[in-house]
């Protein structure tokens, strides 16, 4: 099934993304997941196929599409490529660039965006710290103004694409405590004082690198400040809304893949003299999986449509994320169950998806934080 918002342009991109993933991701999916990294050339290959920055403006080298185009490309890359880690690694620009596009100067957009869209540079977003995750307003990385520079000190962690990022959109404290003292700054690779602390080992998303980033007396040109000083919190929150829609879309894709894998398996696997699919209990499991996927897809599609219409969607995005992550965890768990022992083996795709799925109720704002947002918007 596709999203209700899709038209011919989405269908064409789906076909391209499927073909790209079948040729360039699927044959290597297991190897890259086991190696914990995919080759850097994949960024430019994806860009050459017009699939890297489809949702960015054409003026900056993008495809001129919107969030919906990005969402369906990611879905097809996951479905046909079968390596969620690779797709989320490729997609880290999706959380790093929007603040620059939304609040950056023309010069900043021209300098940073096209080279990321072309696959030449890798972009990452750095918000979480060892001492501040969900509590964004409590972040402690400081950026002290010194003439034409900011001097950045602090540590960021769990940064997707962190080990290879050429530019990092970093949330820093430029003012007093709380959300009113937060700004966003672009820190470029090679800036003295900016180092990659270590590559982190994760439960899932293996093919995507995740790192700790360290800033020690790191002098960043003041011209790399995104938007106004101390107004970064709002940018972060706006960025979160689209990130959550994207994560919900990931969940729909992962669950769809787990469902397809399970459906194919129960048709071929025989027990007690007939295919597993001949047992009603197995078919009903599949029916439940399909139903929940359809429901989460419908809500995710609705929030995309409302967002594109210009409606504020923080609560609905949070609802979609929670609905989709719960659904995805359920579907992947059921898929592993249907595979039986084979589902517990690293050779099966569903084993990997089961681990990948566990990130989603945590990353991009935890399930609990989503509920807090919903409570605030609903007024209780």
């Amino acid at each position: 099934m596709t999203y209700l918002f899709e038209d011919d342009s989405h269908a064409a991109l789906r076909a391209s993304a499927k073909r790209f993933a079948e040729a360039h991701i699927a044959p290597h999916a297991r190897a890259w997941e086991e190696a914990g990294l995919f080759p850097r050339e994949l960024y430019s290959k994806l860009a050459e196929a017009g699939l890297h920055g489809a949702s960015y403006p054409e003026a900056h080298g993008g495809g001129g599409g919107d969030l919906g185009h990005g969402l369906v490309i990611a879905e097809e890359l996951i479905l046909a490529g079968k390596s969620v880690g690779t797709v989320v690694g490729l997609g880290s620009h999706g959380i790093a660039l929007p603040p620059i596009l939304a609040a950056g100067t023309a010069a900043q957009r021209a300098r940073f965006v096209p080279r990321v869209v072309s696959g030449e540079l890798i972009a990452a977003l750095a918000i979480t710290e060892p001492g501040a995750g969900s509590d964004v307003a409590g972040l402690r990385t400081t950026a002290r103004r010194d003439g034409e520079h900011y001097v950045v000190d602090g540590t960021k962690t769990f940064i997707t694409s962190g080990t290879r990022a050429d530019l990092v959109t970093v949330a820093v404290r430029t003012g007093g405590p709380g959300h009113a003292g937060v700004s966003m700054l672009v820190v470029e690779r090679g800036t003295p004082g900016f180092t990659v602390g270590k590559k982190l080992d994760k439960m899932g998303w293996w093919a995507s690198d995740t790192a700790e980033l360290v800033f020690e007396g790191c002098r960043v040109p003041a011209s790399n400040l995104i938007g106004d000083e101390n107004l970064g919190f709002l940018l972060i929150m706006q960025n979160f809304a689209t990130e959550r829609i994207f994560l919900a879309g990931n969940c729909v894709a992962i669950a769809e893949l787990a469902y397809r894998e399970a459906r194919a398996y129960v048709r071929s696997r025989e027990a007690f003299g007939k295919p597993l699919a001949a047992f009603q209990v197995v078919r009903h499991k599949l029916a439940d999986m399909a139903s929940r996927i359809a429901a989460a897809r419908a809500l995710t599609g609705e929030v995309v449509t409302r967002h594109l219409r210009g409606e504020p969607v923080p609560a609905l995005a949070a609802m979609a994320k929670n609905t989709a992550t719960d659904m995805c965890s359920f579907v992947c768990d059921q898929a592993v169950q249907l595979f039986g022992g084979a589902g517990y083996m690293r050779e099966s795709v569903v084993e990997r998806l089961y681990r990948d799925a566990r990130l989603y109720p945590i990353g991009g704002g935890t399930r609990e934080i989503m509920n807090e947002i919903i409570c605030k918007v609903e007024g209780y």
């Binding site: 991109l13 076909a15 391209s16 196929a49 017009g50 489809a54 054409e58 495809g63």
Partner: protein
């Protein structure tokens, strides 16, 4: 060079399990099937694009590529996809699938060639649904044009195409004078398979068919797409090929394990009757 590329949509083999044959087997029920362009036709389009450009500047078309398909309105998706990858304009001949056979399509294509006067027709060697492998050859006959089938390489020359065909034991190279008809095989999309006169001989294409980016997909919506009626092109629309009955292949039986080679040979001889 002006090139006509006929395209056909085929049922997506990834959804083959959705194919249903109603009782009696008179037809195939195509409801709910997903469609994709016939892969050999996509290769033909890629070859035509390569023949009408300098490989180093693929966005500038040094010639014209016209795509044509036969079918209902939904087939326009196939044409729009071709326009997005670089074809200049499209023609849809309105027809239902059960009104068509290879003979009718070949005759209708002849009428289109008479009207459009392309320098070449480049098409897939066959469609992967019926696997008939007829239309190219029939069309060349109707037109009285030289033909080169199953092309693995094409090189443009002055007034001719040099076509490499893979045959048993090697490659046979034909020089066909334009106008000519070429049907292509899968290796036509390898990096050094097709060269126009503008493309330098050391240029290497990406392997496979090119991708269309979103701006090209959007621009394709504005490219011209003409609709023709089948009856305008062919006077005799009686089908030459009649399908008598369809049936699904028998479902695969579970395999067995044999204890040794002797038993294997016995069973292959007596049960499977293959040796």
């Amino acid at each position: 060079m002006k090139i006509l590329v006929p395209l056909k949509r085929v049922a997506d083999p990834d959804n083959a399990n959705k194919i249903k044959i109603p009782a009696g087997g008179a037809t195939i029920d195509t409801t709910g099937l997903e469609w994709k362009p016939n892969p050999f036709d996509e290769y033909a389009l890629e070859a035509a694009l390569r023949l009408t450009e300098n490989g180093a500047t693929p966005k500038t078309r040094g010639g014209e590529v016209i795509v044509v398909t036969f079918g209902p309105k939904e087939c326009e998706t196939t044409l729009r996809a071709a326009l997005a990858t670089g074809a200049d304009r499209a023609i849809r001949v309105d027809a239902k699938d059960d009104e068509l056979d290879g003979s009718i399509v070949a005759k209708a294509l002849r009428a289109i060639v008479d009207k459009e006067k392309p320098d070449a027709v480049v098409m897939g060697k066959q469609a992967v649904d019926g696997d008939s492998n007829q239309i190219g050859q029939m069309l060349a006959q109707h037109l009285g044009w030289p033909q080169a089938t199953f092309a693995a390489t094409i090189e443009e020359e002055d007034g001719a195409l040099l076509v490499g065909r893979e045959v048993d034991g090697g490659v046979i190279t034909l020089r066909v004078k334009l106008p000519a008809l070429v049907t292509v095989d899968l290796r036509i999309v390898a990096p050094t398979s097709v060269y126009s006169k503008q493309t330098k001989r050391d240029f290497k294409y990406n392997d496979g068919v090119r991708f269309a980016a979103l701006p090209a997909i959007m621009a394709a919506k504005k490219k011209p797409l003409a609709e023709l009626k089948l009856a305008e092109l062919v006077s005799d629309t009686a089908l030459k090929v009649q399908y008598s009955r369809f049936e699904a292949p028998p479902s695969r039986k579970a395999g067995i394990k044999v204890k040794d080679v002797a038993e294997l040979v016995t069973r292959l001889k007596n049960e499977a009757k293959v040796i």
